[in-house]
Symmetry: D2
Subunit: 370 residues, 4 copies
């Protein structure tokens, strides 16, 4: 199905850019999870447009309204449904786009898939706006896994265009990185100088009527050993499934990722030892997952986000009504780079994936938060 993910918990999202509302349903939750809405709004705001000079000037409220599954401050265990009303939608911006297929977008493939019945306004169901429900649900998951297991998820901008942040040794994640409080930054990097360069580059692309992409790196620490299974329920399988649900993602890699192919086995293997009673790896080239199962090391993965396809620069495309070629220059307020706003979405996917496996292991009765 297009809108359901998960094995123990089930998440479902719905909506179009210009429909009455977008929203989601989070099902299979334990009863009795306390939800901190201020925490949720921090993540919602990180994703929302109009919050910085790096994103579109469109402003969307993105205030989730809970419909069900929540009572007296706790989840009830029944489906947690919520909506985010759509407003500030300028449908007229999209009128001319009805028949002009925007390159790099799902306009043409979607038109064929839905036989012309899809809502074309603002990208319809394809809109990146649909990631707002993901962030909401991911934030609930984050709170649960933090309260219950002390699991902490953070992400940073690994690169924008050719500008690459410093390497972290993921065998040695430590407080100094956590203290950087990446979540509060506009373009969170380890090397703050890189952040400035990235900002400058994005603003330059914006000025050009062009756009850029980048790579996000996400890390999850304190994840229990033993989550996942070999084959179709590998930790990587379910997480990559979710990550490729984010519009504009073109790649994912775990640990050393593609670069691990350049190492020999003796370099790539993460050797092990006891550190007291705890098992540690000397390195973390596998990004915390071996055999499809978490191994106690930090989960590390990177996600490639392509340049925003909506650009002002004229492009060759097709008019599907008139069956002819045309030149298109996309108007409207668009993000020159979607990477910063995608950070909480990537974190949400990681949190939901961990949540789902925790429920598998512990059940919904034992899984209660305090």
């Amino acid at each position: 199905m297009s809108s359901i993910w998960g094995n123990r918990i089930k998440i479902s999202i719905f909506g179009e850019s210009h429909s009455n509302a977008i929203g989601g349903v989070l099902d299979g939750l334990p009863a009795g999870i306390k939800i901190d809405f201020d925490e949720i709004m921090v993540d919602m705001d990180r994703r929302a447009p109009g919050k910085s000079n790096l994103s579109t000037t469109r402003k969307e409220g993105d205030i989730p309204e809970i419909l069900s599954g929540y009572f007296n401050g706790y989840t009830t265990g029944t489906p947690l449904a919520f909506i985010i009303k759509n407003s500030n939608t300028k449908s007229s911006d999209y009128d001319e786009l009805k028949n002009l297929m925007r390159p790099g977008h799902g306009d043409y493939s979607g038109n064929v898939r839905y036989r012309g019945y899809n809502d074309y306004r603002g990208g319809g169901h394809f809109s990146g706006r649909l990631t707002a429900p993901l962030v909401f649900m991911g934030s609930v998951a984050k709170q649960y896994i933090m309260q219950k297991k002390g699991i902490y998820i953070f992400s940073r901008v690994k690169s924008i265009g050719d500008i690459v942040d410093d390497q972290i040794d993921f065998g040695l994640i430590n407080d100094s990185i956590l203290l950087k409080n990446l979540r509060t930054k506009k373009l969170p990097t380890i090397n703050e100088q890189k952040s400035l360069e990235m900002e400058e580059y994005i603003l330059q692309m914006k000025k050009n009527g062009d756009s850029t992409g980048g790579v996000i790196e996400c890390t999850c620490i304190n994840v229990p050993t033993g989550l996942g299974s070999p084959f179709f329920e590998s930790f990587e399988s379910s997480l990559s499934h979710l990550i490729f649900s984010i519009p504009s993602v073109k790649g994912i890699e775990f640990g050393r990722g593609f670069d691990i192919t350049k190492l020999s086995g003796s370099q790539a293997n993460d050797e092990m030892s006891y550190d007291g009673n705890t098992v540690k790896n000397y390195t973390n080239n596998n990004g915390g997952i071996t055999g499809g199962i978490t191994n106690g090391m930090p989960i590390v993965f990177r996600v490639a986000i392509k340049p925003t396809p909506s650009i002002a620069i004229p492009q060759r495309t097709i008019n599907i009504e008139q069956c002819k070629d045309e030149i298109l220059s996309i108007k409207g307020r668009h993000d020159p780079c979607i990477v910063p706003r995608a950070l909480p979405v990537v974190e949400a996917c990681a949190a939901l994936n961990i949540f789902d496996y925790l429920i598998q292991m512990e059940g919904i009765n034992n899984a209660k938060s305090k």
Copy 2:
């Protein structure tokens, strides 16, 4: 679940390296698919060990024995179940490994996940041998989508270690590449010189008691436009889910993949035009998928395969029975590089993914092959 994938068709695999048999069940098939077993055996043999100087000298029969769902030369539409008997298993090779966790393998994470009850012999359920059922099922899918839609899937070794094959312009796949008949080669590349270099490198690693990894590139042509959906049923989501089921995969990317992040939007977007009645892209940076849906261009994706973790070189690891550190040198017959044998597995995943979406679009009644 650990063993089931798919939305319309359902595939399931089972078995351990040293259990009585491994096997699979392919469910939700249309009735009336004609199966060519010679074709299946071509793919099975590509995956099987002991077929070249680049793989382990272990020989496994890998002869699938059909148990059900097949009658008088055609699928019946009921579950197609099959087994591959295990033989030539030297369990004694693994006796000392019971408590010694092999670095880079799922031994430790699996031991925790299955609380010590897992079958440790030969990697148990984690064994790469479990990809044999995948190849069988993928070969059935390949035959179906080829007969029905003329879809053709091929793969090549994009790189081994640092040795990289030439770039193909995927806007211009043509007969000359298809005629290279990549499927018959030991190390299929576009540039045959690179193949020789790769072979030499692998043999060197073997001699060192070490191993290497590489990147596989898979291409699917003639895939209909309109397969997939945005979000949780994106073509990339379900395919990456399946690909990460293959042991040793650490990354996947579509089209330009991670490199697309270095382009500007105006460079990355695939501009479109009419070529008669057909819609063509000038480039194929998106690898044939936009908005999670196939767009008519060739599907192109790359998969990172890590170096085989089983190596003779001594490594530091832990003995979980005695709770102490030890040095391990893995004996037995292991592949210095799993990449060539993984080619038909990657193709199988691509074929199964396309098959599943075709059934969604056309149903199992209309989906009949001739």
Copy 3:
């Protein structure tokens, strides 16, 4: 999951009796289904309370508000989400019920299941009000299968208490029965005299502060042969799964049902013959399904609905806060008999089940309505 059903289409419902809204998501739909909202409102009104002297005097608007998946008069193929706002809720009616477990309700089992976090007001998620989304989705399904295949679904009250409507020969469903237009009646029966007796009996029970139950019989004609599969995807399996989702259902039987056990095989078997090119059964003891698959005869099944558990007559029960026994007399406006309002819910389940199997056979591309 508690809120998702279906293999090809997926339906999901959410909400509590006194939450902001209830609603549902219908996913996996073909694009391009035209929806007639007047038709939907006919079914919604049949289910809604306060429409006759036989139901509660509570009035609920039950106006579905579509959030997504619908554009310019047609389904878009993306998730069709909708809500029905809750209003006219007298929460105070339920205050004393927080700790008093109503006999026959899910109060106690639900309290344990959700560890005390469930929303107890008006039955919370257990409320029969949650069947309103089912009716909405079923009405969409009904329209589709009618337009596409001429499938017609109708139901009648087979019995109320001991009062039993006449038997229909389901080998001979004909226009005279269809012309009775059962859908417009308060208590649809074949024998109208029985309907009057049933009404009198229900009103008597209401006067007593008591309630009654009954049996609904549902018939589907023109269902194509070949829907369903043996075992876990039998037509009866998926339909009974859905039917038991309706609160107060305690039994389901197909064709002759429990009475078929009293026949000999030679009496029970439906003999067959050709009627021109069409295959007909002489009888329809199997209710249109053999081997889990529709056989071309009308689908006939009956559903047992227990007496409404909310009654004014004092009952012995427990106070879970004080851990003591108490006497409870339920106040508020309750249905003396839920059977008439359940008719469109049962029809909805039948329609959704047929819809799901049609999509399996024909796919979502071929499945387009005109």
Copy 4:
């Protein structure tokens, strides 16, 4: 899918009556379940043909051969796959049946469903023989839930034709009934005289070349309160789904079932009280389930099994090859009554359903048996 059931555990069955083997896969199991094969064989033998004068004289070995997922006496937590080889198959018995559709069987509906490609020998995938894997898997589940929670499942023949066993007061299940050790009897009833009458009746039908059906009643005691959820995951929904997978089932009812419709609410509601700290119902009209969730009372349900459709008495039917009507008298060794052999199958469904919900509540890590 036709062959997969379950939310936490997944069960899958495959095979045809005359294929190489039938079998099943039980996935999502906790690791470390100890399996007693003698116990399994007791249930397998109860289901197997040829064990008494009441069943077919066909003898089938029904010896399950485990392929994977089991090591050193315990489940490993990976897919537990097993096969039962087919033998003693007289395919020639079925040759004339290829085109003659047996009334009451799935021959005709299956022929349409599978477009003529189905294996017609011995009923193919429709064969009751496919319930043998269900019994195997159910027996594993039974052992687990008994060891872990003391849950005990038993069933009896409630009726054969018009001969009805005595009523049990399910508010008062006690040792005297359990001590009757129903599992060891050919036709287990409470009133042993009824058993003799039933046997005589079945033998009379056999002599006539005819058959009979009956009703099975299944009871589960010590089931924890709180299993199930309202709506699509109600305990009744998932159990009825599974029960209707058993060939020849035409109805299911819980507690008082259809008869509850004849009671008033004040009679039907199960009043409650504290019995020390334990909550008890004065009656058990709801069969241990309210609001879709177990309430701590014994689970009680009845299943209607139709008369065996294979009878020697001549019947009118169709020849689908020649498109003409014919008379058919079915030869071969058939059961005059399938009810006794269906008892362990019904129990298996109950056990699997409880198992699945226990895993939901407790997870697979906490769910370990001793």
